[in-house]
Amino acid sequence: MKHLTYFLLLVGALSLSACHDLESEPNTALGNLRALWTTVDEHYCYFNEKNINWDSIYSVYAPRVNTSTTATELFEICSDMLAELKDGHVNLASPWETSYYRGWWSDYPQNYDARVIQEHYFNFRYHTAGAVNYGILTPDSVGYLHYSTFSSSIPEYTMDYILLSMRNCPGLIVDIRDNGGGDLTNVERLVARFLDETITAGYIIHKTGKGHGDFSSPYSFTYSPATDHVRWLRPVVLLTNRSTYSAANNFAAIMRTLPHVTQVGATTGGGGGMPFSSELPCGWALRMSGSPILDPNGESTEKGVAPHVAVDITPYETAMGRDPILDTAREIIVNSVNNKSR
């Protein structure tokens, strides 16, 4: 009986030790602000790169919260605090609103108007397949493909068809302006269409602890050619603007390193960190950059990927139905063909 008693005591002690409390903030206005600050403090990955003093930011915003702060007021305060990170991947979602930092694109010219291309370059005679609009520009027979979001995958057979339909084109324009990102697996599938050999596509880093400098060693990852599908190894011009973001930013960072690709337009919007999600005691969902992805040269792309040829579009040019970024891309392809034929 003594053995049984000892055993029961042992089991009880172990059960109690397994139930030690997890630290959590109370579901009050200040508790939620503290939880938000702490979660970002422990998971956000760009404090050092952006030289942000997160402690001082807390001291600015915490005094704005008191026991009479309403939920909507708290949301505004939290949103303003998160905006200090100047990061489009940072959002706070309440039942009535999701906060966004828009400065990463709103402070720059848009450099893209879909209607200008659809009307003045294609006379609305272009093709649509999911998130892709494509066609052949005349009279130079340059292929054009606009991919609006990496959240939507292009089926392999669709991409095969699109590239085959452009088999007589001297070059291809891949337009990812206003592409806000999506799935990195779709980035890999599309990049694979332009590869002749396996490449180092970038490096990924993750946080190893709660400190602002606790990072793993960069892990290199590779992309391989889509050898079972139609590939495009002729000249490619990649069009980007400031609203080219997140996964599209990663796509640009990889594509621009390929020898037959020229990037034209504006510096992309960045968003080089894969988001990490969490939540607050009141149930609001939180998202922030958590794992930086570096370009094939090991450089951060959080501040965007600069083009080989920088071109901006003025409102006057847009009003006149011209897209100088697209025009520059056509010139580059036509010139490359002419240079080869000489």
């Binding site: 009986m1 053995h3 049984l4 055993f7 029961l8 089991v11 172990l14 059960s15 030790s17 397994a18 139930c19 997890l22 630290e23 959590s24 579901n27 939880a35 979660t39 998971h43 990955c45 039942p95 990195l184 990924i204 993750h206 946080k207 190893t208 602890g209 709660k210 606790d214 793993s216 892990y219 990852f221 894969m274 988001p275 990490f276 999600s277 969490s278 939540e279 005691p281 009141c282 149930g283 969902a285 998202r287 958590g290 794992s291």
Partner: protein, 247 residues
């Protein structure tokens, strides 16, 4: 070759002829889950599952085999997010009887191995919606039974507890997304398990009796999966009531 077959046949025959005790149970109860990789909040809700137990006495020893499949649905304190859980556990133990007078209880103490795998899924998280867990461990195990009779009805009370002592378990790094693992980075995923970073007691208190020709079992079970590594706390606590039949 023939000798091997003969040995296998003798082993199989001995097992089959030993009147094994199989128990099939249905479990239902509460679930308390927390995984700081997914959320700093504690979730609570319900769980359900099925279990199969096999016990065979080889006086003075005992062999046991247990499997358990469970699902859970828990919600955060604000009740606006659901976390789903599923896990499968398989364990096998061999125990020896301790010199405790039969009038008090039959007590068996031993060891064995357990394998468990599962995942918590929080759909609201975009890139980190899943926290997977897996372990293979050497366990300590104890089994006590006590037989009484109430109104000429035989009742068997039993208490079984197992505790992983050492082994290995899977856990991604602090902020590591599964995409990175998918891309091929498999370093630092397997950890040496010890009571300081993995505590997973499995306790079952049961009472069994016969009703006609049917052997019925009712039980309370406590299952805990608690691990800590890479500054991530993963914890699932299940309190369940089980009803089963033995044959």
């Amino acid at each position: 070759m023939n000798r091997c077959l003969l040995i296998l046949f003798i082993f199989w025959a001995s097992v089959v002829s030993a009147q094994p005790r199989h128990t099939l149970s249905v479990l239902a109860g509460s679930a308390h889950t927390a995984d700081t990789y997914l959320s700093p909040l504690k979730y609570s809700g319900a769980s359900t599952g099925i279990a199969y137990d096999y016990k065979r006495l080889y006086q003075p020893s005992m062999f046991s085999l247990s499997t358990q499949l469970r699902g859970s649905r828990t919600m955060n304190p604000a009740r606006n997010a659901v976390m789903w859980g599923a896990d499968l556990m398989l364990s096998s133990h061999y125990m020896w009887r301790l010199p405790v007078p039969s009038a008090i209880a039959s007590v068996y103490l031993g060891s064995g191995a357990s394998i468990a795998a599962g995942a918590l899924y929080l759909p609201r998280n975009g890139n980190n919606p899943v926290s997977a867990s897996a372990r293979i461990c050497a366990d300590a195990a104890i089994h006590c039974t006590h037989d009484i009779s109430i109104h000429h009805r035989p009742l068997t009370f039993s208490l079984t507890a197992t505790l992983p002592v050492t082994g290995a378990f899977f856990r991604q790094a602090y902020g590591e997304l599964y995409y990175e693992i998918y891309m091929g980075n498999h370093s630092h995923l397997i950890h040496w398990a010890h009571p300081g970073n993995l505590l997973a007691p499995d306790i079952r208190a049961a009472v069994s009796t016969t009703v006609g020709k049917i052997y019925l079992t009712g039980a309370y079970t406590l299952n805990v999966e608690n691990s800590y590594s890479h500054s991530i706390t993963h914890r699932c606590i299940y309190h369940s009531f089980a009803a089963g039949i033995s044959f």
